[in-house]
């Protein structure tokens, strides 16, 4: 009897032991946070935005830059690889390995928040956070799929290699993944977006300035508009773009009169252009990147630059524009174009990327270079709506939007944009060739484009879009969308010099940048080459 009692007592204690040891050891070892309340979950989303950017590699891969020859010393291996569509192996802040892990890390933060929201039972207090997390997750994948895969195509995307869509946090040391197809990635993005955008609530951010670093309502809708534009879902692109500026675009357009007071200094102009106080800026990105050096008033990166030839022949300094023929004068922008020329220097810039330095050691002058830029602006959303309308052959509203854009961006007395002026402008050029550049590049798009008005309207639209997104890397995606071919050439003494045999053909494998070396060597299927 006594023995039995003892046995029971000992067993009871043994069980208590195990459970109390568990409790005892459950205390966290340090001040690591746990995602267990609304505030912390919302704070997690601060890191759901990539801290690295696609700007430098995609801009250098696009037709916005020319080679100024190997006598120009201001280049590095990274920019040479990006310019020539080689596999990028250089690792620096702009390296594609950083872009890869930067986007996936942002996705991981979004996934962590989503898992925590799920664990909290999806309360209403967290619906804004849930919306932001879903949209941010879609955005991370959007960058990845557009950089590392062929562009979306209704016919080929079901088999084209996309990227892996992550919906859960990684929990083991070195898991192996399969890549989704491009179509699958787009479907999943659409699913996240359509669930997420309606939940976004601007009031959930601490103030209006801080909201510019998050998917606020405008940014989320602008993103959705861009995604559907890239996907070729024109009606949805129109409606989301309209929602982005609340159906009153003029109220959202850039206040140039304020920004141009800073125009004397390039650095100040770029800073103010990307300021969170500017209403036209929907989402601001502050990546650690040298893009602002390459696309700023520095010698850095001037071997592959947007120089005078390209600017005058194709882009922002073309005197014949769809809205006005400037004749011998240069087209005037609300904030001036910055031209830098000299020995080994030929850059024509708009103040789109701001160079800012974060000191970690002010004495040694060590820190991070931040290239602040605005991936979503009101103007870009406006042009997205115009483009989608052109595709839908709603020319009148498209012209009205472009007119709005022109009035706000250029200083011209009476700019008149009509179907006729656009047709006249577009028909005034031959298709661009490597030897003789024009703003009219031959389209090889996956979707049907009617020759004549529709094609001409699209040339005009892309002309404005190129100016609006200049130096921020988006041109590369337009090149991919429209299947524009690029042939690399060298500019010698301000004119086209040797033309290389390196042409990026339609559906060239190199339109999908190769995955980072480490990722391939640990077993993920590389892009075909």
């Amino acid at each position: 009897m006594k023995n039995r009692f003892l046995f029971i007592a000992i067993s009871a204690i043994a069980i208590l032991n195990v459970s109390s040891c568990k409790k005892y050891l459950d205390e966290l070892p340090d001040n690591r946070a746990e995602l267990n309340n609304t505030e912390k979950i919302s704070k997690m989303l601060v890191s759901a935005y990539p801290q690295n950017s696609y700007v430098l590699p995609t801009e250098l891969s696009s037709d916005n830059v020319d080679d100024y020859g190997d006598t120009n010393p201001y280049s590095d291996r990274f920019s040479t690889q990006a310019f020539n569509w080689q596999d990028i192996t250089e690792t620096n802040n702009d390296g594609i390995d950083r872009l890869w892990s930067g986007c996936y890390s942002a996705i991981a933060s979004a996934n962590a928040a989503l898992a925590a929201i799920e664990a909290q039972g999806n309360p209403a207090t967290l619906s804004a956070a849930k919306g932001e997390a879903l949209v941010a997750r879609a955005y991370g994948h959007f960058i990845l799929v557009n950089v590392f895969a062929q562009h979306y195509s209704p016919t080929k995307s079901a088999t084209d290699l996309g990227i892996t869509y992550m919906t859960k946090s990684e929990s083991t040391l070195n898991p192996k993944y399969e890549r989704n197809t491009v179509a699958e990635v787009y479907d999943l993005m659409v699913k996240d977006l359509e669930a997420g955008v309606p939940l976004i609530n601007d009031a959930s951010y601490s103030n209006a300035n801080v909201a510019k670093y998050h998917f606020n309502k405008s940014a989320a809708n602008a993103f959705a508009a861009r995604l559907f534009l890239y996907k070729g879902d024109w009606t949805k692109a129109v409606s989301y773009a309209t929602a982005a500026f609340n159906n009153s675009p003029s109220a959202y357009l850039r206040d140039w009169s304020y920004i141009s007071t800073f125009a004397a200094t390039f650095a100040n102009a770029t800073r103010e252009y990307n300021a969170s106080t500017i209403k036209a800026n929907f989402l601001i990105s502050t990546p650690a990147s040298s893009a602002a050096l390459a696309f700023g008033n520095y010698y850095t990166g001037s071997r592959y630059s947007h120089g005078n030839y390209i600017a005058r022949q194709e882009s922002i300094l073309t005197t014949r524009t769809p809205h006005f023929n400037y004749g011998t004068a240069l087209p005037a922008y609300r904030v001036r174009t910055y031209t830098y020329s000299g020995a080994n220097l030929d850059k024509v810039l708009l103040p789109h990327v701001s160079y800012q330095f974060e000191y970690t050691d002010p004495v040694a002058g060590i820190g991070y270079i931040h290239s602040v830029f605005t991936p979503f602006t009101a103007e870009e959303a406006l042009l997205t709506r115009a483009e989608a309308n052109i595709q839908l052959k709603n020319y009148a509203p498209a012209i009205a939007d472009m007119q709005l854009f022109v009035n706000n961006t250029y200083t011209v007395a009476t700019p008149v944009l009509t179907e006729a002026s656009i047709n006249a402008w577009a028909n005034g050029f031959a298709y661009s060739t490597p030897a003789v550049s024009t703003p009219k590049k031959k389209f090889n798009a996956e979707f049907v484009i009617e020759a004549g008005t529709q094609e001409n309207m699209l040339h005009a639209l892309l002309f404005y879009r190129r100016a609006e997104t200049l130096l921020t890397g988006l041109r590369w995606f337009d090149v991919k969308r429209y299947g524009i071919e690029i042939t690399r050439r060298t500019i010698v003494a301000g004119a086209v010099g040797p033309i290389s045999s390196n042409t990026l053909v339609v559906r060239d494998n190199r339109r999908a940048l190769q995955l980072p070396q480490d990722v391939i060597s640990s077993g993920l299927t590389p892009n075909p080459r």
Binding site: L25, D30, N31, L35, K43, A108, N174, V210, S522
Partner: protein, 1124 residues
């Protein structure tokens, strides 16, 4: 029963309770047995016994020997002639005890005169191995690899930190004195590195309690010279006179009882205790003086030679009026131009020449200015007494060291009390408490930082006296003010105005209860609490260079160039302004730690049929360590105005814009629970087999339950050949011989930054362009790695120990092979979680070594004897499994890198080829071509071009100790040696030098004219024109600093200590009432008998990192010992 425990001990109790209750059953029975046995038979007759106690060696009478009637309090001490008289029961047993002698028991048996000779006891405790786990194991049956070091054998006067005593004394233990500043720990490795990224530090155990560090300083950071290293020595608060012995546990069998902490070896310290029948009071005082370093030992130019270099620099455009007078740092030339510009010196060649000539003749001895021979004192007094019922030991010590260099004084006080009371024959209570308090001053220092772009390791505002003396030009006038960081600077004044006060308080309370439930069964319960608080107050006063630099804007050039000034971005066209218009800076860092330990052990030891001995130990421990650290920086404290702060609000604005904080708080808590058991069986004292296991859980890896628990184990055996019949019959010169072997698993926690068995989220402030855009967020620091586990090690140890010629020569040899696996290493993943490079248990390492210690009496003739001790350790390791993601810069800097196929701390160099015909250095680049400035230091892809130099940790080392005694004189000569490693020489080469720099004489060999490249490997002192053409030359010069041309061998032989002691004859002392009196003079670190000439006087062990680091000085100590 259960409830009471719950109330009193809470949750902690439960874990212990399990074991306690399991052991409760037999203990109830044990009680009854003990009672029965306690009935003693008393005799009735009484006798008076007289006699003399003598020393067995020389027959001299021994005063002060305790003579006691066993089992009673009846006792007396012998007088000055060694005589005693005591009245006792006839059947009683007399106990004769004295410190340093073996205790003798004699049964009276009716005699009235008993003379006794006591034998000196050299290794009174050496037959016992103290594992620190509350159990003692007979050395003859101890199967693991261990070494015991008695403090009386290892003591070196004038080194108050006990950890330095181990240097060269114990086979298998490597002590690298990377810095000699008090409070900093030497780099100690037991059997070499056990981890690639972890610290491999050994575990310190003092009186059964693990001594945790108050702050985590990795072994590489020990040589950083940062202020934190001042509190890195775990045992810095222990008085070495209180220590009885060190027991170093080396192999798996010995350490596996410490489970997941013991992988790096365990050093168990036992402090002195009171002993039955011995009353003593001892006073020890030490007086230490240190030699001032001399320029004769270093290869530094004198002022005349230095001025020659300056003239060359002037010719090459470095020392123009326009640039130097506004330069951030300038010396004689800068001062001269400033005087000219302010009209105080004529701008003529004669006046300038006269001014410079004065400097040329100056020959300032910075060592004399900054170092002194001040005498440091260390006083320690201890009392000890004991009866059968109670024993106690108490001591107090005080050190007052005015400092070898300026601003390095410290004081330390320690107190130590321990008492044991025998509540009953079978129940013993021990109380221990000790405390220490230290106040120390150090020159003000900020953290070290590495510029990965150009490869320079720097420290802002460094005023370390040793590195100042080595690096500062001897042309400077010590009483003149020159320019540093654009502000006036004078080292002597700066020392007064920029310093740190470190205060360390450390107390420990400990309670032990031992209950001998049965003759064969022991229980022990231990509880201990330790509290340590450290504060570092860094005073940067109004007049200090560092404060002045924040307001230096003498000219617009300076204003625009001074990085400490602030340009407000929200104000258009604003000029830089000072954010410290008045006052200085006050930094404070606090570290606090509370640790609680509970341990319960049971030991069962029984011998059956006189042949079969079994020994079982079971136990559990619970521990909890809470750490807290705080840092804050106060701006604008006006030291000169009654310490009133005057803070400019822009300090905070700037901080917000640059994303820097002005205070930080951190709290960590580590908790552990462990169960352990050990079983040993010995047959006939000949064969012993033993198994040990431990099951341990910790909260370190977060709430993940998968990685929480870890079992460790070992099996071992011993064959004591001496006890074999056949051996006894063989009649060999071997007087003893035994073999042992062990195999076991032990583990370690791995680097402190890898704890992501669950995802780790931390808060951060993302960088934003303006203060209005800022917010706080959370980010993923580390993704979850559900498979994360401890770093582990399998170890095979084979050893033998034997004595020759009647144990005149004792030899111990241990050989081991270790297989370290599950080590934390880098793995490159697909990166879909957001991290391409992760840390995980993917690396492995193999290591092996051999340890030999030979002790013997070389000569013994009459009053003369010579005993010698030779120790040799060989340890190598090789990383066998590890992915790699390091940058070139990580391979080539002085802390080394663990690359697969090489040792865990390997040093690589950029291959230097030659000096080319314009004096610039040429290297081989990653593509095999020659380059000057093309080495990309951040390259991760191609590192194969680097040249392997060797390991940074010595592979062969040891010591040779000799003790010569003649009558009462004792001469000790102790030599340590170490070889097999390489050292990176101090980076001395730069693209430009200022008129503050001191150059080494190598610069005489620098390339000057074409053709020199045939005779020299020292690159040209650059012309400013070069730099204007290509700013990348600084990469070339740093490449040179880290090239194969700038490496030396780390081999050395050091005369570590030489001492002469004299003990006054006891019989004479007895007349004046003293038990003993001794004097000793020792000279420590006297000279390096051998070192690589390339080191130019640099100590191969010392890492000249600036900050608070100082080398171990050459020092002379007089020690006086008095015993009553």
């Amino acid at each position: 029963m259960k409830k009471i425990y719950k109330k009193n001990v809470g949750r902690i109790g439960y874990c212990l309770l399990g074991l306690f209750c399991c052991t409760f059953l037999p203990s109830v029975e044990a009680k009854a047995t003990a009672k029965d046995g306690a009935k003693l038979i008393k005799s009735e007759r009484v006798v008076t016994v007289k006699g003399t106690v003598r020393d067995k060696k020389d027959g001299s009478p021994l005063p002060g020997v305790s003579v006691r009637e066993k089992g009673s309090s009846n006792a007396i001490s012998t007088n000055g002639q060694g005589q005693y008289q005591l009245t006792v029961q006839d059947g009683a047993t007399l106990t004769f005890a004295s410190i340093g002698y073996k205790t003798v028991e004699v049964v009276v048996n009716g005699r009235t005169s008993i003379d006794v000779s006591l034998q000196e006891d050299a290794g009174q405790l050496s037959d016992v191995v103290i594992t620190g786990m509350g159990t003692q194991v007979d050395k003859r049956t101890f199967t693991g690899a261990t070494s015991r070091l008695k403090v009386s054998d290892a003591e070196i006067g004038g080194l108050p930190d006990p950890s330095r005593m181990l240097d060269g004394r114990v086979a298998g233990v490597v002590v690298q004195n990377t810095t000699g500043t008090f409070g900093t720990a030497p780099k100690i490795r037991v059997r070499g590195a056990t981890s690639i990224y972890g610290s491999s530090k050994p575990l310190w155990v003092v009186d059964g309690v693990i001594l945790e560090d108050v702050a985590d300083v990795s072994s590489d950071a020990l040589s950083s010279g940062d202020a934190l290293t001042l509190i890195s020595s775990a045992v810095g608060g222990l008085n070495s006179n209180d220590i009885e012995s060190f027991q170093v546990l080396k192999d798996g069998a010995a350490t596996s009882i410490y489970g997941a902490k013991g992988m790096g070896g365990v050093i168990v310290i036992t402090t002195k205790r009171g002993r039955v029948g011995i009353n003593s009071l001892n006073y020890v005082s030490e007086f230490t003086t240190r030699a001032i370093p001399s320029y004769n030992n270093f290869n530094i130019m004198n002022s005349q030679e230095q001025m020659g270099v300056y003239q060359m620099l002037e010719q090459r455009g470095w020392l123009n009026n326009s640039s130097v007078s506004n330069a951030p740092n300038s010396g004689v030339y800068g001062k001269m131009y400033q005087l000219i510009n302010s009209g105080q010196l004529l701008n003529t060649q004669e006046a300038k020449n006269a001014y410079l000539r004065e400097a040329e003749y100056r020959n300032t001895d910075w060592f004399d200015e900054l170092f002194s021979t001040n005498i440091a004192q260390n006083h320690s007094i201890s009392m000890s007494s004991g009866t059968e019922k109670a024993q106690y030991f108490s001591s107090i010590s005080a050190i007052s060291d005015p400092g070898w260099s300026k601003q390095s004084k410290f004081k330390r006080y320690t107190a130590n009390f321990n008492a044991t009371y025998n509540l009953r024959d079978n129940l013993k209570l021990t109380l221990l408490s000790n405390g220490s308090y230290r106040e120390q001053r150090a020159p003000g220092t900020l953290g070290q930082s590495t510029d990965v772009v150009f490869g320079t390791v720097g420290r802002d505002f460094d005023i370390n006296p040793f590195s100042y003396a080595l690096n500062s030009s001897r042309t400077l006038d010590p009483n003149e003010t020159y320019t540093r960081n654009y502000a006036p600077f004078n080292i002597l004044k700066e020392m007064e105005n920029n310093y740190m006060d470190v205060n360390v308080a450390d107390v420990k309370f400990q309670w032990e209860l031992r209950w001998k439930a049965l003759k064969t069964l022991d229980f022990a319960f231990l509880a201990s609490t330790r509290y340590q608080q450290t504060s570092q107050q860094h005073y940067i006063k109004d007049e200090s260079n560092q404060s002045m630099a924040y307001r230096a804007m003498g000219t617009t050039i300076i204003r625009d160039a001074n990085p400490y000034l602030y340009t407000d971005p929200s104000v258009l066209y604003s000029n830089p302004i000072s954010i410290l218009p008045a006052g200085g800076i006050y930094n404070r860092t606090d570290y606090k730690m509370t640790s609680n330990d509970f341990r319960l052990t049971a030991q069962y030891n029984e011998t059956f049929a006189e042949k079969h001995t079994v020994d079982f130990v079971g136990g559990s421990t619970v521990s909890e360590i809470a750490r807290n650290n705080n840092w804050n920086r106060g701006w604008g404290l006006q030291y000169g105005l009654g310490e009133i702060p005057f803070t400019d609000y822009r300090v905070f604005k700037r901080g917000a814009e640059e994303n820097t904080e002005y205070f930080r708080v951190g709290n960590t808590k580590s908790k552990e629970v462990a169960f352990f058991g050990e079983g040993a069986y010995t047959y006939d004292n000949r064969y012993t087999v033993k198994a040990t296991g431990r099951y341990e859980g910790s909260n370190r890896l977060g709430r993940s339950t998968s990685a929480r628990w870890l079992p460790t184990w070992s099996v071992s055996g011993l064959w004591n050949v001496t006890e074999e019949k056949f051996f006894k019959e063989l009649n060999t010169p071997f007087s003893s011989l035994s073999f042992k072997g062990s195999y076991g698993l032990s583990a370690n926690r791995g680097p402190s930054y890898v704890t992501n068995s669950q995802a780790i989220y931390s808060s951060y402030n993302p960088w934003r362009p303006t203060a209005g855009d800022r917010e706080t967020g959370l980010q993923i620091d580390n993704l979850e790695n559900s498979g994360l586990t401890f770093e582990k090690k399998h170890e095979l140890n084979l050893g033998t120990s034997f004595g020759l010629f009647k144990n005149r020569l004792a030899i111990d040899v241990d050989w081991y092979k270790r297989n370290n696996f599950d080590l934390i290493g880098i793995v490159n993943t697909q990166g879909l979680g957001g991290e391409i490079t992760k840390y995980g248990n993917v690396a492995a390492m193999k290591s092996s070594g051999i340890e030999v210690s030979i002790a013997g009496t070389v000569l013994k003739k009459g009053d003369f004897s010579w005993t010698a001790n030779f120790i040799y350790t060989h340890a190598t390791n090789k990383v066998t499994e590890s992915e790699n993601n390091a940058r070139v810069i990580d391979y080539i800097t002085g802390t080394g890198y663990g690359l697969k196929g090489y040792s865990a701390r390997s040093l690589f160099s950029i291959p230097f080829v030659r000096i080319q015909n314009d004096g610039l250095p040429v290297f081989i680049n990653d593509d095999g071509t020659e380059t000057v400035s093309g080495v990309y230091l951040q390259n991760r892809d191609k590192v194969d071009f680097l040249k392997y130099e060797g390991t940074l940790e010595p592979t062969h080392l040891g010591s040779f100790g000799n003790i010569f005694s003649y009558k009462n004189f004792k001469l000790n000569v102790f030599v340590t040696y170490s070889y097999g490693n390489v050292v990176r020489l101090d980076p001395a080469f730069r693209t430009g030098y200022t008129d503050l720099d001191a150059n080494t004489r190598e610069f005489f060999d620098a390339w000057t004219v074409p053709g020199d490249e045939l005779r020299t490997n020292v690159p040209v002192i650059l012309d400013t024109r070069y730099l204007r053409n290509d700013s990348d030359y600084s990469i070339a010069y740093n490449s040179y600093n880290y090239s194969s041309a700038n490496v030396a061998k780390g081999d050395f032989i050091r005369l570590k200590d030489i001492s002469l002691g004299y003990d006054f004859p006891k019989e004479k002392l007895a007349k004046i009432g003293l038990a003993n009196l001794g004097l000793r003079l020792n000279a420590t670190n006297l000279w390096l008998l051998y070192a690589d000439k390339k080191l130019n006087g640099q100590d191969p062990e010392f890492v000249n990192a600036g900050g608070v680091a100082l080398p171990i000085p050459k020092q002379y100590t007089l020690t006086l010992r008095v015993g009553f």
